[in-house]
Amino acid sequence: MRLKKASILFVCLVMIFSLLAACSKSSSPGSTQNTQTGSTSSSGGSSSDSGSSDSGGSSGGASGSGETPRNETLYINGLQWGAPTNFNLLSGNPAFPINYGNSRELVYETLFMINMLDGNLEPLLGTSYNWVDDLTLKIELHPEAKWNDGTPFTSEDVVYTYKLGQRYEINWTSYWDYIQDVVAEDAHTVTIKMKPDNPNRLVVLESIELIPMLPKHIWEAIEEKAGYDLAAIRREPNDNPVGTGPYKLYFYNDQKITLIRDDNYWGQVLFGKLPAPKYITHNIYKDNAAGDLAFKNGEVDVSQQFIPQVWKMWEDGAPIKTYLSEAPYYLPGSMPSIFFNTTVPGLDNPDVRRAIAMAIDYAKIAELAMSGYSAPMKPSLLLDTPAENKFIDQDAIKPLQWTTDVDAANKLLDSIGAERGKDGIRVLNGVRLGPYEIECPYGWSDWNAALEIVAQSAKAIGIEIRTKFPEAPVWTNDLQTGKFDIIMNTPAGNVTPANPWSRARTIMYSKGVAPIGEMAFWNWGRYKNERADEIIEKIPTVSDAEAKALYTELTQIWLKDVPSVPLMYRPWVFYTVNESVWKGFPVDGDGSNIPPQIAMDGAGVKALYQISSQ
């Protein structure tokens, strides 16, 4: 029995020890099971209870544990999975709110704000832009803009930020394929000159609403300290970022990230006042389920998470809203699609691809996989939104668009001579149509469900498709090297002025695509059509009105050749709000023209000036 007592004592000691150890250093592993396509940002990190330096004048409210008053804090979730490691835009994995690709305007700001409702670029750091000639874009900057350390924001910062992309391989380096030079004409004017042999207005317009502006006086010093070596620059944590935006970093650990409003924010002259929330906090949840539960209970105000059957929440009485009050509840921003490997026997036949496209039960995908958040699928290269609709002649493409019609699909396959074998699978010219493997990353539940439906749909027309859900890096590798039969991915999933051109290019452009076995970064199915390449090269050089005819022709080619099949519409960002503390969030039809961009991206940030708490 001594043994027993001794062991109990030992157990207690171990528990105490582990508690102490846990207190000193706490970190939680990130969860990769998110349904956010494209960015699997999961990073565990160290915890450092770093308070802020200067809280802009008003104190109080923040205790040692980083607690802030509920009615002064806006809570958001769905943008950060896993503890923050750094706040450095050049690192490749910065934490909330530092982000490239969504035009986040909280700490760093972009020159202009994108509004997904009409596709316009609204003024922020830049007041206006215009094309002075075919190759030159002139941008006027706001004379009162300044950094949160007091230094004025000038054209030098713009030039510096752009040129960072020239010196180092970072997110905006590729703009320099089309840009010749960025020049500071005077303190508040910048001109961007395009290359005469490779001009592309769309991409340049994308750059002015996408690239966050970095302060020259801070980053020049960082560059020098790092010896102008990108690897060293990437290791800079930058945990007190100097930006022009209305918020500064206040507190972070592995459970949450809190921002505090800068009451000296220059943008007061632009918006007429300061944003309403004094603090913005992102709680870091372990997975979707935890975040959804917290959101339903009113602990989170804005949620960027995929919430299945969201209508049940307000039916249960919670003051929850989506941008649209009825299905599909969310505005479309991208079209996750399946890409065919056009070099695989059987799939190299456009009729086979079209038959598969006609067999897929899109309604079931929208309902089962996307929980009803996708409008009925109308296959096209363009989204059916006001921003993109103006580029296409709907009547011209309607006859070519397919719908779910299993009988017609079967007839099509019969007509080309694909006869069913004894096992029910068709054989075309000696090639058995199957088994084809269709893949997407494991754990992306809505995609997993969609592909299961595709596999089942194909069975009905005699084509054997098997699902395969490898780990994300393996899927990425398969995608790039062409080691797949059919693969799912989102082409150009962001809302930018470069869309729909960017999307069309990603799906159909064949130049610069390495052969199967080497890495390719678009057109992974290795589709080739010379006329399509021509059109894609031409569109950025013509006016919007001329582009319409080109897009229409391109879409017709796409509809005939079917190199990819869009499975569903997906929002750019999920926008669901709980109005139990903060009221006044923008919704469809309220006349505010504030887009559902989670109150912090692009023109969506205007929501922060409209909401109020009790």
Binding site: E437, G443, R466, K468
Partner: protein, 278 residues
């Protein structure tokens, strides 16, 4: 042989275990012949509770869970059987070789066996599963079999060593019979019952291993097994949605099958190992 069976039948534990196993096997073999529905078919909304049409409700894909359960049991047991066979076969060969031949063969094989026991096989199982490109049910069974043989090897070796110096073995040796003949005819029959028990245990642990590995998402692609059913339930957050029918039935079935197999094993153990008869 006949008397052995009769003794076995008198053991309540063996009887119960055997009956459960036989009933379950019969059910999963016969039911699909009656109801030819495709378990992969998505016929309902997600996570519908049990009703008169869907006896166990629907899973996250809208599939009939009862149908899936029947197929899943079959797949899991198949994998368990194959894994068990492979593991027992390997363990038998290695155990016999190292136990009978002895000397340096024994040292090498024992070192190898011990190494595999000590290095957590589940970790190796995971690593191998992740690095394989396409996983079918057979491949998963193969991997499980290849990583779980050490127990059997050790046990067989111990038995062989104790039999090595028996009179009839020495007699056969003196008579000039080949090593192979001696092993097969003089040693094997005496450890047959033991090997059979080890086989049962291997099948049980094979089923458990398949369930574990599938639950982590490293199971066979495009297959319905008890483990993959639980895996989908977890990914689609069935517990939080309250859809208990999506994961409790497979979990209980795994427990029942392994329980039945363990019962059979314990029953046999009591018969063949008189010292532990209570």
């Amino acid at each position: 042989m006949g008397s052995t069976v009769r003794i076995l039948l008198r053991s309540p534990k063996f009887l119960i275990g055997a009956i459960i196993t036989l009933l379950m096997t019969a059910f999963v073999l016969i039911y699909p012949l009656i109801n030819r529905a495709d378990p992969f078919e998505m016929k309902a909304f997600a996570f519908q509770p049990p009703s008169s049409e869907l006896w166990l409700g629907s899973d996250n894909f809208g599939r009939d869970l009862f149908q899936e359960l029947v197929y899943g049991i079959r797949t899991s047991v198949e994998i368990g059987l194959i894994a068990g066979l492979i593991a027992t076969a390997i363990g038998l060969v290695i155990g016999l070789a190292s136990g009978y031949v002895g000397r340096w063969v024994d040292n090498v094989l024992t070192a190898l066996t011990n190494m595999f026991i000590v290095i957590p096989s589940f970790v190796i199982l995971i690593l191998i599963s992740v690095s394989i490109d396409s996983r079918s049910a057979f491949i998963v069974a193969l991997i499980i079999g290849l990583t779980s043989w050490p127990w059997t090897a050790r046990a067989v070796r111990a038995q062989t060593v104790s039999l090595r110096n028996r009179d009839h073995v020495n007699l056969a040796k003196i008579s000039g019979h080949s090593t192979f003949r001696i092993i097969v005819f003089e040693i094997l029959p005496y450890i047959a019952s033991y090997v059979f028990m080890a086989f049962i245990l291997q099948v049980a642990s094979g089923i458990l291993a398949e369930a574990s590995i599938s639950m982590l998402g490293l199971g066979p692609y495009d297959t319905i097994s008890l483990g993959t059913m639980m895996n989908w339930a977890l990914i689609f957050a069935a517990p939080v949605s309250g859809a208990w029918w999506a994961f409790i039935p497979p979990a209980l079935v795994i427990a029942v099958i392994t329980f039945a197999l363990f019962l059979i094993n314990t029953g046999m153990d009591e018969i063949f190992n008189p010292k532990i008869r209570s």
